[in-house]
């Protein structure tokens, strides 16, 4: 027990040593506020993209530096901010917490947790805008990043450090591909960052639940800014996510980052720019909209071995209107990225899901990152599918077809059906190779097209049970040797007898 005298003594001591320091700050005065933009007089020494603080604790980011005033985007509710309010400089350029502490968390673009799992204990911060790695710091893309989706891994392969655009109309399964890709990174030592820009909060909540259900949340960070939040927050969200990814990349790790989606990001930036009275250009987007996305996507890289060999693979998503890829933002991002996965409405409703249009989707660098095993089946698949598409167009006009043509059409049907894959069911590379091998070699021609899904499902199970050495060897050697090929053929024939 502590007695009254001691307490008095402690209090006396506390009063005597009570720090009476003064707070020094640089301030400005709000002269105009509205639409989440404040014009502030003063703040002469403010830096571009510096964070400032409004009286009620709301943050702002300095965007326009003018002769007498600065234009500030308010990142929070602007209803409590009045003309004449004091605005304090923080001296901090916009930055976010990085490191292991953010993994498994859902945060806003300022790095503040929004998942109710307590504060983020990180003493490392990284500014949201950083220069991209230079030419010397990079090396070419050479390792595959498996998405677990047969159509993509075989035909539009993605390599670590690549930027592959996912583009399509609304409701064609763009997000589904990105989510599958993230779930497939489980146990592959790849850190994932999912940046949701202007999405419905309910959608993001269900994405998070999906991740948790599949054990993907432990290596994933969700950066979320919902549709209801100010445009400035939406604008910095992908940069914040990229800063978190960069930290891991420079630590020598592989990161997969999904920007879902950059169309809304561009719209948010357009909103901020117009409110700041920057001159509008095509479709009212500001002049630097291309630079906005190019500097973001340039930060995706495969670092050289001297730099640790880490990588950021970026999967930006773009939503098109009625399949129009020649609109401003889609063409911009197509030209920035290393290829695109094009999703078609028509295919989606034909039941070909993922609705990847393999004819016009490309990957400009990914094929050099494909495993030998996958390459050996993908080449044939690509060629056959191309011929099939050509024939399919012709056969609509012709009444009777010769046998060879019929056979080729049949093969094409089967291959297209085999590329159909249910959502949230990513497949390891060795299974993909085995299935595609069977399809390209014509082992499926004898079965009806509507049984393909069943075939794939049961065959993979069968292979794992009866011939585990086949998949194990493909996985370990990453190649399809003649010996393994023979075993695989034997396995397929064995299975087909009982199907």
């Amino acid at each position: 027990m502590i007695n009254a005298d001691e307490i008095a003594g402690i209090i006396k001591q506390r009063i005597a040593t009570y720090a009476t320091g003064t707070n020094e700050a640089e301030i400005g005065t709000v002269i105009q506020v509205g639409d989440n933009i404040a014009r502030v007089y003063g703040l002469d020494n403010a830096q571009s993209s510096e964070l400032v603080e409004f009286p009620n604790g709301v943050n702002g980011i300095v965007l326009n530096l003018e002769e007498d005033s600065v234009g500030i985007a308010i990142m929070g509710p602007d209803t409590d901010i009045r003309e004449g309010d004091r605005v304090k400089r923080t001296g901090r350029i916009a930055s976010v917490p990085v490191g292991d502490a953010v993994l498994g968390r859902t945060v806003n673009p300022l790095g503040q947790p929004i998942d109710g799992k307590g504060p983020i204990e990180s003493n490392q911060y990284r500014t949201i805008e950083n220069t991209a790695p230079t030419v010397i710091e990079r090396q070419s893309v050479k390792q595959p990043l498996q998405t677990g989706i047969r159509a993509i891994d075989a035909l539009i392969p993605i390599g670590k450090g690549q930027r592959e655009l996912i583009i399509g109309d609304r409701g064609t399964g763009k997000t589904a591909i990105a989510i599958d890709a993230i779930i497939n990174q489980k146990g592959k030592n790849v850190i994932c960052i999912y940046v949701a820009i202007g999405q419905k909060a309910s959608t993001v909540a269900s994405v998070q639940q999906t991740f948790e259900k599949h054990g993907a949340m432990e290596y994933t960070t969700i950066v979320n800014v919902s549709a209801a939040e100010p445009a400035a927050l939406k604008w910095i969200a992908p940069f914040a996510g990229c800063a978190m990814a960069e930290y891991f990349m420079y630590e020598g790790k592989d990161v997969l980052i999904v920007y879902d989606d950059l169309t809304r990001h561009a719209q948010a930036y357009r909103e901020v720019s117009l409110l700041l009275r920057r001159p509008p250009g095509r479709e009212a987007y500001p002049g630097d909209i291309f630079f906005l996305h190019s500097r973001l996507l340039e930060r995706a890289a495969k670092l050289s071995d001297e730099k640790g060999g880490g990588s950021i693979t970026a999967l930006p998503i773009i939503e098109t209107q009625a399949g129009d890829v020649s609109a401003y933002i889609p063409t911009n991002v197509i030209s920035i990225t290393d290829g695109q996965i094009y999703l078609q409405n028509a295919l989606f409703f034909q039941g070909i899901r993922p609705a990847v249009d393999v004819g016009i989707s490309v990957s400009r660098v990914g094929s050099s990152a494909q495993t030998k095993a996958m390459k050996s089946v993908a080449g044939r698949l690509k060629l056959d599918l191309a011929q099939y598409r050509e024939l399919a167009a012709f056969s609509k006009l012709a009444s009777d077809l010769d046998k060879a043509t019929q056979q080729q059409l049949n093969r094409g049907d089967k291959m297209t059906a085999v590329l159909v894959q249910p959502q949230l069911d990513p497949q390891p590379m060795e299974d993909e190779v085995a299935v595609l091998f069977a399809a390209t070699r014509g082992y499926l021609d004898q079965f009806p097209t509507n049984r393909m899904q069943e075939w794939v499902h049961r065959f993979v199970q069968f292979l794992h049970e009866k011939y585990p050495q086949v998949t194990n060897t493909i996985r370990d050697t990453q190649a399809l040797s003649d010996d393994v090929e023979k075993q695989l053929i034997a396995a397929i024939e064995d299975f087909n007898r009982g199907f």
Binding site: T20, G21, T22, N23, E24, A25, E26, I27, G28, I31, Q32, Y41, G42, L43, D44, N45, G57, E66, E67, D68, S69, R86, K88, P119
Partner: protein
């Protein structure tokens, strides 16, 4: 919308002119007289600001009413009317004061405290600051009981907050962030 950049252009011109004529003090005084007159009477202000009143008419009336003003000050006001920049008048005076203060090598200093400070204490604060920053100050004093205790000093863009209210604010923020 007050446009300080635009007002500064006018203020700089007027200040240069007054400087050449060696009548800065008179011009400043007369400009203040005019702005005070606007502030004192709502109907005068409305008349002066109104875009509906014919410019010629407005010029004549203002010229007659303020004929005692220094010609530079009067002409400035008439020019504002002719250019339809009546809304700049108040800001122009603020900017003019800033220029005049800068010319004297002085700075604005505002001391806010919870209760009225004795003059000796104010002088002491100003003397300390003047020595530290090597500038002269135009001091204004304000009382704000909401500060509870201590003083808050504002010099241009800089703020030194030694008040209890400021500290409580910091504690509140610290508690709410962590």
């Amino acid at each position: 919308m007050p446009n300080e950049t635009l007002a500064r252009r006018y203020a700089t011109a007027v200040f240069d002119l007054a400087h050449e004529a060696n009548s800065i003090a008179t011009v400043q005084h007369d400009l203040h007289t005019f702005v005070d007159a606007l502030a004192a009477d709502e109907s005068v202000r409305k008349f002066f600001r109104s875009p509906v009143v014919d410019r010629k008419e407005k010029e004549e009336i203002v010229a007659r009413a303020f004929d005692k003003l220094d010609p530079i000050a009067l002409h400035t006001i008439l020019l504002l009317i002719r250019k339809r920049r009546e809304a700049l008048a108040e800001e122009l005076v603020v900017q003019f004061d800033d220029l005049e203060r800068a010319a004297r090598g002085s700075q604005k200093l505002r001391i806010t405290s919870a209760r009225q400070l004795p003059q000796a204490e104010v002088d002491q604060i100003v003397a300390r600051l003047a020595a530290a920053f090597n500038t002269k100050y135009d001091v204004t004093q304000a009382v704000d009981p909401g500060l509870i205790g201590g003083v808050r000093i504002t010099m241009g863009d800089k703020l030194a907050d030694g008040t209890i209210a400021g500290r409580l604010d910091d504690i509140a923020r610290l508690l709410s962030t962590n």
